[in-house]
């Protein structure tokens, strides 16, 4: 077995940090370290000549440092501030158990909307019920224009030669479609009052 074929030992222990604490710092590291120092010292804004990206990174590191402190050093909330929060929360709701009331409001709101929709549907039905009257008025308009409306009827008149038992289906369909399209156009014109 060659050395490269040997299984690697398990990764035991903490992974090495790069770089080592004693490694010489780069220029970029020096700038970042200085920016972090300023943030930890509570100084606002980047030092003159220091790019703002390094300062923003340092500010993030400062926030992170604060979160580390918070994890190890619990703080108390001041009693005044705490009472403010309680008062504000209790003032937002007239009753502590507001949930049932919210449910009722929802029921009432949805009930109202449903009622309105039902009324609208009823009105629509009534309006549709008058459609024959409108049809009648259209018919009257057509009659006034001296035209008659073509009505639905048998297609037998289109085939005076009779219909064979087989064959010619497409031709018959074309003939029906052409005749009915003509009827349709004439009815439209008659309805508009065109002679």
């Amino acid at each position: 077995m060659s050395p490269t074929d040997r299984p690697k030992p398990p990764n035991v222990g903490p992974p090495p940090d790069a770089p080592d604490p004693d490694d010489p710092p780069s220029e970029e590291e020096i700038r970042a370290a200085d920016a972090l120092r300023r943030v930890l010292d509570g100084k606002r804004g980047p030092r003159e000549g220091v790019d703002s990206a390094a300062h923003r990174e340092a500010e993030r590191a400062g926030e992170w440092a604060q979160s580390l402190r918070a994890a190890t050093s619990p703080r108390e909330i001041s009693s005044e501030r705490h009472q403010q929060l309680i008062d504000r929360a209790l003032a937002t709701s007239p009753k502590a158990t507001s949930r049932p009331r919210t449910g009722k409001v929802a029921y009432v709101a949805f009930g109202g909307v449903a009622g309105l929709l039902a009324m609208a549907a009823a009105v629509a039905l009534v309006v549709r019920g008058t459609a024959p009257e409108r049809a009648m008025s259209a018919k009257a308009t057509a009659e006034r224009a001296g035209a008659t409306l073509a009505l639905s009827r048998s297609t037998a008149e289109l085939f005076p030669e009779g219909i064979p038992r087989s064959g010619g289906t497409s031709d018959r369909v074309d003939r029906i479609a052409y005749a009915r399209a003509q009827d349709y156009r004439q009815n439209r014109f008659a309805r508009w009052g065109a002679p």
Partner: protein, 244 residues
């Protein structure tokens, strides 16, 4: 009344034995009056029966009762759940306010069960904290996923007679410290020392530089590297990596 005291370093403020009766305190901590701190010993707020009655009154619309419950448990939520996980006083206060708003809104849905209302309050606080962490999108010690796991773990059943809020507070504080300590154990010892002394103990920069045997400017670089190393180490820790 006997005031319980302890030498500095025996036990810190905010780290007391919870709910010990006053009579037991001298036996546990002694009464020597040397350089001392007064322990922030909590007094058990009310019996389970009283707590249950307060909850029932709060659910019936009694705002005073609800206010009493919040007054009692809110500081614990702030101290052990919100502040350590959100890492900022202002944000933690905002989270506590949001938690109260949700409690007021949902108190009617709470069903009483042992060990009381605190686990329910803690769960709401955790979810509020998750929302805030997601909204902030800043790198902090805790990620939203960490809190999600804590919320999914749910409350640990405590033995009868032990106040649940005290046990859960201790566990929450320990969890926050453990996460940091685990990260520190993964980095170079000099980096860990730099963070402990300068960040956690907030010692002056020059003093820490002397302690580490380097110049102040070299210490700045070491601290910068230490912070980067710790962030990487904590980011490496995930539930998947901890599983066998």
């Amino acid at each position: 009344m006997e005031v319980a005291i302890s030498r500095v370093g025996d036990i810190g403020v905010g780290d007391p034995h919870p709910f010990l009766p006053w009579e037991a305190l001298p036996e546990v901590f002694g009464t020597a009056r040397r350089t001392c701190i007064v322990l922030a010993v909590k007094v058990r707020p009310f019996s389970p029966e009283t707590e249950q009655a307060l909850v029932a009154r709060a659910q019936g619309g009694d705002r005073a009762a609800l206010g009493e419950l919040l007054s009692q448990f809110g500081p614990t939520l702030f101290r052990s759940v919100l502040y350590p996980r959100l890492g900022d006083v202002t944000v933690a206060e905002q989270a506590l306010g949001d938690t109260y708003a949700r409690v007021v809104e949902r108190i009617g849905t709470f069903e009483w069960q042992y060990p009381g209302i605190y686990p329910w309050l803690r769960m709401i606080a955790l979810h509020v904290a998750i929302d805030l962490l997601r909204a902030r999108r800043r790198e902090l010690l805790f990620e939203p996923e960490d809190l999600q796991r804590e919320a999914e773990d749910g409350p640990t059943p405590s033995s009868p007679g032990d106040p649940a809020s005290a046990l859960m507070e201790r566990r929450d504080l320990d969890a926050a410290r453990a996460k940091l300590e685990h990260g520190l154990s993964q980095i170079h010892p000099r980096y860990a020392s730099a963070i402990r002394l300068r960040i956690l103990e907030e010692r002056p920069r020059e003093e820490v530089a002397v302690a580490l045997g380097v110049s102040s400017s070299t210490f700045d670089v070491i601290l910068h590297r230490a912070m980067a190393a710790l962030r990487k180490a904590i980011a490496r820790v995930s539930p998947e990596s901890e599983e066998p």
